[in-house]
């Protein structure tokens, strides 16, 4: 009896320090991350939006005296026919890449989601593309695409004869395909791991029940796997889309600095305009446009997924 009274007294004293669940405790826990995010993400983003309305070039960069020119940068970007052709190419690039990322990643995840000898070893091998730094991977693939000494053409000519020689890096349309292949190889592990995590969270009983009811493998996949993976795949697809849309490394390296206008995507255009032509204001406007495109896509995609439920 006396002990419980003492315990109650102790409890009261602790809560009067205010360290317990006060109204502002969550903010204190979030504060460090919020501060870092504010400096690393929010500040540059807002700064970029601001300079997209100003004229910033090499000539006035240092003086920090940037005249306000309103929507001129945006009009310049949107009036350029190169923007639209590059936009279509970027959308094509993103769609093809994400489609193969998800389908091959999901396929591999389903294969791995069972008793396999050496599963851990296979998983490590399949993660390797993700583990290798993108720059190194792109340089290596570029070496493999050389028309004469690259391993890909050597294998092709050994299998199919000399007519199979593909000018990967000389012709822009082939270069685009080369970038796609490299990026698919780079992006599969991420989707595979996400799908694998999602698959292991689907309870076995559902599949057993479906088998008892006589559902085929494909029907099980369509009616159990896909719907239950949706909440996990949706953010992964959005992430994958945003990352692929802005994949500057692979395209810049394989096209040797993106000199040809016919093999670049929007983000390499931003890079060139900003750092080789010093049109900081204009590339900021282009970046904001890319941001709005991706924001619109994510919003529409999430809404579409929610309405399906």
């Amino acid at each position: 009896m006396k002990d419980t009274v003492v315990k109650l007294k102790k409890k009261k004293r602790n809560s009067s320090f205010g360290i317990g669940q006060g109204r502002f405790t969550p903010f204190f826990f979030l504060a460090p991350a919020a501060i870092v995010l504010a400096f690393v993400v929010a500040y540059p983003l807002i700064y970029e939006i601001i300079i997209s309305f100003k004229n910033v070039t090499l000539l006035n960069l240092k003086s920090q005296n940037y005249p306000w020119i309103g929507l001129d940068n945006y009009i310049n970007v949107l009036a350029d026919s190169l923007f639209y052709s590059t936009l279509i190419r970027t959308i094509l690039w993103t769609a093809i890449n994400v489609f193969f990322h998800v389908s091959i990643g999901l396929f591999l995840a389903i294969l791995l989601n069972r008793k396999l000898p050496g599963k851990a070893f296979i998983r490590i091998l399949l993660i390797l593309p993700w583990a290798v730094p993108q720059y190194i991977a792109a340089m290596t693939w570029k070496g493999m695409y050389n028309v004469e000494y690259g391993s890909i053409n050597i294998i092709l000519t050994k299998l199919f004869g000399d007519a199979a020689l593909i000018p990967w890096l000389s012709v822009p349309s082939w270069t685009f395909l080369a970038c796609i292949i490299t990026n698919i190889w780079l992006g599969i592990p991420f989707m595979m791991m996400i799908s694998l995590g999602g698959l292991t969270s689907i309870p076995e009983e559902l599949y057993e029940a479906a088998e008892l009811d006589g559902a085929s493998g494909f029907q099980q996949f369509k009616n159990i796997t896909l719907p239950l993976l949706k909440p996990i795949l949706t953010p992964a697809i959005i992430l994958g889309t945003v990352w692929t849309f802005n994949m500057v490394n692979v395209v810049y390296i394989i096209t040797s600095g993106s000199a040809s206008d016919e093999s670049q995507i929007l983000i390499t255009m931003v890079f060139k305009r900003a750092f080789q032509y010093f049109r900081y204001g204009q590339s900021a406007a282009l970046s904001v446009i890319i941001f709005l495109i991706l924001l619109a896509f994510s919003t529409v995609f999430i809404k579409a997924q929610k309405s399906d439920d």
Partner: protein, 427 residues
């Protein structure tokens, strides 16, 4: 609770917005400046240098920096390495802050970016006229921009020339036609993969041939608004020539600088068009090589573009102490002995007049031999517009070699791209 959340969110956003707005109107950086008094050489100073040397040059700079600090204990030298394009990009962005380097060692076409961007100050006032008199005036000329001396050159060259494998080529050819015949013969005999290798991606390596066909890049490089002159019959001849040697199998189907170097170092190519920076690599690979100017085509000599490389001082270096340290360092590193040491790594002609007369230079056939090519070369334009020129030529050359564009059509496309590029640069 919701109200407080909204209030805090509004407060944070408005702080950010106001904070960034404040940044926009600031005109000068906030570093406190010391009043320039008597130069006290007793205060410790740290100099930051950025460079884009290859590994031999980096090692040599570290050695020189150590010697300098031993003689001037109060001055520490910190060296950072960047690749050429990265250096230019990072230096431009660093100008917005206060942590940029004090000295940059780079090629003179950097001036086309640094001077319009107000990133560097005239260097003759920093080192003094007395020291300037010890440097080769021709090199000094190349390091000027708009008539002012912004760079202190430490080497003159950067030119392309032909290096040949003495084992495969006992007597060097006298004309390009001879070179072509030799190269194709060696390939037919199976002694080489390709007779001639060169970087086929960067137009810097093929532009020497333009001069052999009588073409020029700009109509007048020195005018206030130079215009590209790429839509000319000379360009058609140049592109036809490139396509011809490509189809004939003299040069590889696709080659970047690395591939060319690998083939030549492996003894699988007889000739390479490259610069003196490659000599060290060939020696390490055990190739016994000789050098010669790019031979004449139809009797006319190709003219590679030469450049000087040198030191520039950042505009923000105003403190008297620092300026004194910078002056001391530049004088030390461009003295006869230091320049001769650097020659070991870059194998080009130094600019210190005494160093140029030294037996190490005049007696070394690999360096003295460059004089012949240098005499036939043209100075590379350092104006900002060159970026538009390279970006115009690069994709068109690639398309000509791949067969997508006909050489006759190349000139017009290059001209259009170059003019668009110059407009994009805002010039």
């Amino acid at each position: 609770m919701k109200k407080i959340k909204v209030m805090i969110a509004m407060a944070m956003i408005s702080t950010l917005v106001v904070g960034s707005m404040a940044g926009c109107t600031k005109k000068t950086a906030v570093t406190p400046e010391k009043t320039p008094a008597v130069v006290e050489s007793t205060k410790p100073v740290s100099l930051a240098i950025w460079e884009q040397e290859d590994p031999d040059g980096q090692a040599m700079m570290d050695t020189l920096a150590k010697e300098f600090t031993a003689a001037n204990p109060k001055i520490t030298v910190k060296r950072t390495h960047y690749e050429t394009e990265e250096l230019r990009k990072n230096y431009t962005t660093a100008s917005l802050g206060t942590t940029g380097p004090d000295i940059v060692l780079g090629p003179n076409d950097n001036l086309g970016v640094f001077v319009p961007g107000n990133l560097v100050q005239p260097i003759d006032t920093v080192v003094g006229a007395e020291f300037m008199a010890t440097i080769d005036p021709l090199a000094l000329d190349a390091a000027k921009y708009s008539g002012k001396q912004y760079m202190l050159p430490d080497r003159n060259g950067n030119e392309l020339l032909v290096a040949y494998n003495k084992k495969l080529v006992p007597t060097p050819p006298k004309t390009f036609e001879e070179l072509e015949a030799m190269g194709l013969k060696l390939k037919k005999e199976g002694k080489v993969e390709y007779g001639l290798v060169m970087d086929e991606v960067e137009p810097f390596f093929s532009v020497p041939f333009l001069a052999a066909f009588g073409g020029t890049i700009f109509d007048d490089v020195n005018s206030a608004t130079p215009k590209p002159s790429l839509n000319t019959p000379a360009v058609t001849s140049w592109m036809t020539f490139m396509k011809r040697i490509h189809t004939a199998g003299l040069i590889p189907k696709e080659a970047n600088g690395d591939l060319a170097l690998t083939l030549f170092k492996g003894g699988k190519a007889a000739f390479i068009i490259n610069g003196p920076w490659g000599f060290g690599d060939y020696t390490k690979a055990g190739i016994d090589f000789g050098i010669m100017p790019i031979p004449t085509i139809n009797g006319k000599s190709p003219a590679p573009l030469t450049a000087v490389k040198g030191y520039t001082v950042s505009e923000g270096v105003k403190d008297a102490n620092k300026l004194a340290a910078v002056k001391a360092f530049l004088i030390f590193v461009n003295s006869k002995d230091s320049q001769l040491k650097m020659v070991d790594s870059h194998q080009q002609t130094p600019t210190n007049i005494e160093a140029m007369k030294d037996a190490k230079i005049t007696g070394n056939p690999l360096i003295a031999g460059q004089a012949e090519q240098l005499a036939k070369s043209l100075p590379m334009p350092t104006i900002t517009q060159m970026r538009a020129i390279w970006d115009a030529i690069k994709p068109v050359q690639q398309e000509v070699l791949s067969g997508k564009t006909k050489p006759e059509a190349a000139g017009a496309i290059m001209q259009k791209k170059a003019e668009q590029g110059i407009k994009d640069l805002g010039l």
